[in-house]
Structures are given as C-alpha cells and as structure tokens.
Symmetry: C2
Subunit: 299 residues, 2 copies
C-alpha cells in the first residue's frame, strides 16, 4: 500500500506542475503563495493568481491535514475512528474572456484508521457560452483518462458529475459536466490501491493539456460588454452552486477550514439581474438550452 | 381572532405604502411588478426596482400562499397538520451609494391547523461603512416600535438578530443587527393575537420613516471608486450569508419557491478578492472592527 506521505508528495508535485504551466499559459500574472498551518495538524499551500491575461482570478491549492475527526464527520462517515488524514489538490479558474469556460478540478485522498480510506475527485467545465465541440473535446479527454484505468469509469463518473453539478433551484446544470468520483477503493473498482492512486495522478496530470487546448481555442475571441455581462450572470450561478450545494465548500465552512482557501472558488465579480431572460435565438439562450442533465457529449 | 384574509390584506396594503414611498424617495426608478401563482395554491406580487437614483437593486415582495405542507416542513415544525397558510412582506434594498446601508425587512404570518400559528419577522441593517450614530438611530427606532408592544421585546428580539445575522465562517456579523422574532403567539408574549398582529403592522410601518432618515443622511455622500469596490466586497459577504445561512432563502430553495422572488435579495454586483485586508486605521478597517456580536447600539 502506498503511504500517505507518498500521496501528499505526488499531489504537491502536481500542484507545482500545474502552477508552472498556468503561469506560462497566462503570460502575465504569477501565483502568490500562502503557506498555512492547521491548528489541529497539517497545513497547506494556497496559490492564487489574479488579474492575468488569461485568468481573471483562480486558485490552485494543496493541503495535507491530519488530526482528530470532528464528531459531525464521524457520524456522516459512519466511523468510530478518532483520527484522520486528508490530502488533495483543488483548482478553480475564472478566465477573463467570457468565451473561455470556468474550470474546476479536485483530486483527494482520505483515510481514517486502518479500514476506511478512499480516493475522490473530478474535473468539470462551466462555460459561460457552451460550444458543443469544446464540450466534446473536454469529455473525450476525460474518457481517455478514465478508459486507461477501467472501462466503466467514464460512464460511472460522468453520470455522477451530471447528477452532482446541478443547480436544483434553477433546474440548470452548472456547466457541461465532466467526471466526479468519491470513495474509490479496491472493493468498488476492481483496482488495487496502486492503480487507484495512479488514476488519481492521471486525472491531475490531464488538467494542463486539456485546459491549454481550451485556452488555445477561446482565449483571444473577441467579446463585447454584453458578453461580459452574461459572464457575470453565469458567475452568479456558479456562486449559487458553490455556496448552496457544493459539499466541499459546505464541509469546509462547517468544520472551520481556512476560509480564504475554501472560498477562492468564488468569482472576482458576479452579478444578479432580476428575471433576466436572454432573447430567443441568442447565443445566451442557446447556452441555457444546453445546460441540462442527460447530455451525452462524447457520442 | 383576526382572519388570515385580514392579515394578508393589511400586509398587501403595507407593500403598497412602502413601494409608493420608496418610488418618491428614489425619484428616478419605479417598481416593476410581477404577479405569480403558486401551483399548490395562492401566489404573490413581486416588485423590483433597479438602477434608481437611491436604490441600485431592490425588491418589495408580498405573498399569500396556501396548500399542502411539504413533509420536510411538517417534520421541522413538528406537526401532523397537512395544510398551511403563510403570508408576508419581504424587502431587501441595495443602495447605489456605498455610504448608504443595505436594509432588510420581513413581516410574516404562518398557520397550520387550529393550534399552530405564529407571527415572525424583523428588520436589520447592513452598512458597507458603519456609522455608529446611524446604527444608534436605527436601533432607537426599533426599540420605540418594540416598547409600544411589550417592554421585553426590544431586548429579546435584538439579541435574536445579533445571534442570527452572523456570518459564522467569517466571524463577522452581517451588519449592525436590528430585531428578529419568530413563532410569536399569546403563550410566549403575554399579548393577544390582535396585539401581535398590530405589532407586526407597526414593524412594517416603521420601515419608511426609518429608511427615509437614513437616506437623508447618506444618499448624497461623495464616494470614490475605492468606496464602491469595498461596497462590492461587502455585498459578497451579504451573498454568503443569504446563500449559506438565511433560513428563508434556504427554505425557499428547498421547497421550490419562486426562485426570482426568493433571490431578489442578492445584490446587483458582488466581488470577491482573495484575502483582502483593509489598511490599518482606514474607514474599512474601522467598519470591520464594529461588525461583531454583542454591540449595544442604543446605550
């Protein structure tokens, strides 16, 4: 069995690789890092990029925390164990250009005691304007990563993402989905711990090539003030999802995590306009028509 | 016992009075009204004002809904009754001038069956910049309204507001508090239903004179871009409170209320800037130092 130090080290490397690649891709802004320690044990490296050429605001965070498991978490995880260890990398990038999508990635490992441990994570895309060919490219990339690990993974995990990244009160998906997985272990995957760890790393390492291609396609698209206003409204939806439904965010807020690291996912600017309806036939209306569950982007 | 029609009618009148007064006060924008019906029974009048001289975005909503009580609500209210009636007026105003405060008011009545009924409501103030003299004026007004009904009300309800309007994850209050009350009935107030109803109306009718005085004081204050940016950050906090903690908002989202009416409380624009710390000694730092629990503004 791979050790937790081993996992944390590899995750930290992935954070480094992604930050270097994103700085090169942005070409203007660089990450600011804050190292923090958790009073109960462990800590993290929060890295934030702001006001870039490509990225308006984004974060690439690494953490490896350990300590006593809060009572509420013991209940929700149905365990009597008292100590836990958790490590992960989390990314949210809000691009400047409204035709570029918001992207989110997370890879994580959790353990408590001898018997309770798992990998979780995912990547999903929230375009302000949905381009079906980009959604198809994105899902094809994810499918390739999944297929290398297990023939069922893409179907299982893209379905999970489709269910999870849903803004119930708006009857809208957050974006075009992606993959989402949790509590992966040998018993429910037919894979060894080593293979699951490797899958987790593959997901992490697929981020840069996928995002680079999306940036190549859309970062220099011309846009006007109406496109920007629409971007702000879509970021409002993203904010609604994160504050109302996102398990990681709510878990962090409830257990007293480092607030500025947790809420780095929030956009630099979000707007709400009462009852805004895009004109029929507009690109904005077309996007709304595609933000629904059950789309099959790789077909 | 006053009838539910009676209550709904008086609340509707209060909505009318407040909207007329706010249009006169704004001097530029007028309310747009949408009447809606609830599939299960009843409906409401959502009134929104946007891009005004005084008010950048705000709503004054009335609703009177009836029907079958959702199972989740039956559980949380600990009742076996199947039908309910609820009516109320809700206001949130986001002013244009950063030196003007955000204000929120709600008065409501709920009943299910013969034995379960109550009044609830409150008013609270969220200044972007705290002026202690304005907070004192505001609380003095509320105390006067409370004192007319019961000598204990102000202390009880301002304490409730202090506990309730708290952004736990930020360790900050949402603003300078106000009053918050719920489940008021003769058994827990020494007042008759008529007196409780009258208290509810007095709270509603105190809104216009209180807000008018605050507008008089701050609406024409000079402000610069830094003040506006700070306003956007404070609106971000307001958004966090409403989406994460506000019972009314969460209840509405979970029970499938009319989304655009529920989320009218969200600001026209909110910003998030990573780890923003106002300079020591600045007006913004002074405001943060006052956004804490246990302040006694009327002393």
């Amino acid at each position: 069995m791979i050790s937790k130090d081993n996992i944390a080290n590899e995750y930290q490397k992935i954070q480094d690789e992604i930050c270097s690649a994103l700085e090169a891709l942005d070409g203007q802004a660089t990450f600011e890092e804050e190292q923090w320690e958790r009073p109960g044990g462990g800590g993290g490296r929060t890295r934030i990029i702001q006001n870039g050429n490509l990225i308006e605001k984004g974060g690439v965070n690494f953490s490896a925390v350990a300590g006593e498991l809060p009572e509420a978490v013991r209940k929700s995880f149905n365990t009597q164990e008292r100590n836990f260890f958790a490590t992960g990398v989390s990314i949210v990038l809000h691009p400047r250009n409204p035709f570029m999508p918001i992207i989110h990635m997370n890879i994580r490992y959790f353990e408590t005691g001898e018997d309770t441990r798992w990998f979780g994570g995912g990547i999903d895309l929230s375009p302000h304007y949905v381009f079906p060919e980009d959604a198809r490219f994105f899902h094809t990339q994810l499918k390739a990563v999944c297929d290398m690990a297990h023939p069922d993974f893409y179907q299982r995990f893209s379905k999970r993402a489709d269910e999870y990244f849903f803004i119930k009160h708006r009857h809208e998906t957050r974006g075009v989905g992606g993959i989402f997985y949790d509590r992966l272990k040998p018993e429910n995957t037919e894979l060894s711990w080593e293979q699951l760890f490797d899958f987790s790393l593959q997901v992490g390492r697929s981020f840069v090539p996928t995002y680079s291609e999306l940036a190549e396609r859309r970062r220099d698209s011309d846009f006007n003030e109406d496109n920007k206003q629409w971007q702000y409204l879509r970021r409002g939806r993203y904010t609604e999802f994160n504050l109302v439904y996102d398990d990681g965010t709510r878990f962090g807020l409830e257990t007293g995590g480092r607030i500025e690291s947790i809420l780095m996912s929030l956009p630099p600017q979000a707007n709400w306009q009462y009852n805004f309806q895009p004109p029929a036939g507009s690109a904005e209306a077309e996007t709304l028509s595609l933000l629904k569950q059950g789309m099959d982007w790789v077909k």
